[in-house]
């Protein structure tokens, strides 16, 4: 019989599937995280950073013209796109950068898909005087060239990863290899609620501020809780961030929108919960896109930030216990919502967040004008202008 206790589980999901070489670093991180959560000084420093650097609290915008296309439902946007660096990623990055300092490490490494997490990491590294290396799939460096330039300007080294599918999953593989080699000096600043314990819990703790703020803001604005909270799900950090404060509110539906790519039926998608099965990837047990031999299947999405064949274990758990539901939004639906928000509200969303907006159109039509939907607008679309121009055939 096993004498050790499994840790970091969400029901049957989560845990730690990593080489022994990383256990020491994960335990150190776990301890630093737990201490920080109850340390008033740490919490004070982080709150001050959010106030004076991130630009928190982020505001709520009611999308009144957009609402006409969503069955007349009231659509409240949580504006994480207005954060410094342009997305929710900064929330987690500042928390982990503070922990890095606390642990006495001088170098951070990060993976990035759309470049949002890479830019946020490079930004925090500049702010804290840390060395920063960002791993990015070669395919993504092409899709998100602007963000590559931003990271370089911020002083980070960007290493294109040319193995496997040349996207986010392979960038994580390469970051893990770096970490195994340099774990004494380096913190792996993972950008989402996946990976081995404590990452899913820790990243959620740094992102849950989104839902805590939004819950109070919605109560203040409309005098009641929303009927549903909507977010896009790749790894799932913005979704967990906005869901978490609402989990005890059973009247509030939590709905995650995965990237359906060219359609679930085509097999070319990144909808891990909708179209995947239970497995272990990147150190955690969750839903995974995999074949009959347990080999990871390459994901596909027009959105680099959702193009990942895994998903955070807490989402897998929320799905299995029925507390949250997950649906797929394909590329065309997302781009339609992207164009619609831009034209009706003057807000260019990230293509990732456009999946949640397409979800709002769908859910709004189902529920009608009485419904109040809170949507996490997790990032802004500046980085996606070239992709969108190509999609809509606008000459550049």
């Amino acid at each position: 019989m096993n004498s050790v206790e499994a840790i970091g589980h969400f029901g049957p999901f989560g845990g730690r599937f990593v080489p022994e070489a990383l256990i020491g670093a994960l335990e150190q991180l776990d301890a630093a995280h737990q201490e920080a959560m109850t340390d008033p000084q740490f919490q004070g420093e982080l709150a001050q950073l959010h106030l004076t650097y991130t630009g928190r609290p982020s505001i709520i915008t009611e999308a009144k013209r957009f609402s006409e296309y969503a069955g007349g439902a009231r659509i409240l946007l949580k504006r994480e796109d207005l954060n410094h660096t342009g997305s929710h990623k900064i929330n987690n990055v500042l928390g982990q950068a503070l922990l890095t300092k606390k642990m006495g490490k001088k170098r951070i490494i990060a993976e990035t898909g759309a470049g949002q997490h890479g830019v946020a990491s490079a930004t925090a590294a500049a702010l804290f005087g840390l060395e920063c290396v960002v791993y990015m799939g070669e395919e993504d460096t092409r899709r998100q060239a602007l963000n590559v330039a931003r990271m370089k300007l911020l002083g980070a080294e960007v290493i294109p990863v040319s193995t496997g599918s040349k996207t986010l999953k392979d960038a994580i593989n390469e970051a893990m290899r770096d970490w195994v080699t340099n774990v004494d000096t380096t913190h792996y600043l993972l950008g989402t609620v996946a990976g081995p314990h404590p990452f899913p819990t820790m990243v959620r703790d740094f992102q849950k501020i989104i839902g805590e703020e939004a819950r109070a803001q919605v109560l203040e604005l409309v005098g009641r809780l929303p009927d549903a909270v909507l977010a896009c799900v790749g790894g799932g950090s913005n979704a967990i961030g906005i869901f978490h404060a609402f989990i005890p509110d059973l009247s509030v539906d939590l709905i995650g929108f995965e990237a359906g790519g060219e359609g679930i039926e085509t097999g070319r998608h990144a909808a891990t919960i909708t179209g995947g099965s239970i497995g272990v990837l990147h150190g955690t047990r969750s839903y995974v896109l995999q074949d009959e031999n347990g080999q990871t299947i390459e994901s596909h999405s027009i959105s680099a930030g959702l193009d990942y064949p895994g998903v955070g274990p807490e989402h897998a758990y929320l799905h299995d216990i029925g507390r949250a539901q997950y649906r797929a939004i394909n590329d065309d639906q997302a781009m339609n919502a992207f164009a619609l928000l831009t034209k009706t509200e003057g807000i260019i969303p990230a293509i990732e967040s456009a999946h949640a907006l397409a979800g709002a159109i769908e859910v709004g039509k189902e529920r009608g004008p009485e419904a109040i939907l809170l949507v996490n607008l997790s990032g802004r679309g500046d980085k996606d202008v070239e992709t969108a121009a190509n999609y809509f055939k606008i000459d550049l």
């Binding site: 096993n2 290899r177 774990v183 995999q290 080999q295």
Partner: protein, 267 residues
């Protein structure tokens, strides 16, 4: 129950020498080429083989093993090929284990994998990313199939944790001699030696050292303090770099004989 692997280590001990263990991914350089390579290794005097189950996301492997895994996966290698390669090695008289990332076993079915492994003459499985916290299903499956559970420990593993991990091991303890991914190294640091000394304080199991060994001199040096010397990337490299499969097998034979000699010069 004693596995062929355990018998081999016991025999090497009576001969006062370390064992040489070779790693090759199933299906590499081709399904038949892998079996031919195993025959060459057996003939050269290698003591045991680790059959790699190639995986799409090998986060602990350097470029050499990644390339080999890619070639093997392109050829469609799956569990069936792994088991048939295992059986081939067993029939060639080599104790054989599987080395794999955890997900392929979980996908196959943990109990079924252990049973099929035993049926094909396999002695055990090396599970480099299965932590002891997550190992309960595997432990019961391996115990009922009578196969060894081999965990990998690292220089960063604390003494307290070494005791916990080695208590779950059978067959041997796999000591990763340095912090990093698989691949050949020109300099082997002293961290392997120190790690083996720390492992000896907590277990009587044989200890085999892997990561970085590629030359006769390195094999000799590691064989001086370990019970087993594990070589993977160096063998794969000669197969990858050869102009043809037959040239690769010839080069493999030369390298294997060198390393076999190196291991025997260790004490």
């Amino acid at each position: 129950m004693t596995t062929p692997l355990e018998k081999m280590f016991a025999q090497a001990k009576t001969e006062n020498r370390a064992a040489l263990i070779a790693y090759l991914p199933a299906g590499f350089p081709s399904p038949q080429g892998c079996k031919d390579a195993i025959a060459v290794l057996a003939e050269a005097g290698v003591d045991a083989v680790e059959i790699g189950y190639p995986y799409s996301d090998p986060v602990m492997d350097g470029p050499t093993i990644q390339s080999a895994a890619d070639i093997s996966l392109q050829a469609g290698t799956g569990a069936k090929e792994v088991f048939s390669t295992l059986k081939f090695a067993h029939d060639a008289g080599l104790p054989a284990v599987v080395m794999t990332y955890w997900n392929p076993i979980e996908r196959y079915g943990v109990d079924g994998f252990a049973d099929e492994l035993a049926k094909n003459g396999g002695s055990g499985v090396i599970t480099p990313d299965l932590t002891i916290e997550e190992s309960a299903p595997w432990e019961s499956a391996a115990a009922s199939a009578g196969v060894n559970r081999i965990y990998v420990v690292a220089p960063s593993t604390t003494d307290a944790r070494l005791a916990l991990v080695t208590a779950q091991c059978s067959g041997f303890v796999y000591a990763a001699s340095l912090m990093g991914v698989t691949g050949t190294r020109t300099d082997l640091s002293s961290s392997g030696h120190d790690l083996v000394a720390r492992i000896r304080k907590v277990t009587d199991l044989p200890v085999a050292v892997g990561l970085g060994v590629s030359t006769r001199a390195q094999a000799q040096s590691v064989a001086g303090y370990a019970d087993g010397v594990i070589v993977g990337s160096a063998f794969i490299k000669v197969l990858l770099e050869a102009e043809s499969e037959s040239a690769g097998l010839e080069a493999l034979s030369i390298l294997a004989k060198e390393l076999v000699a190196g291991v025997r010069e260790g004490r």
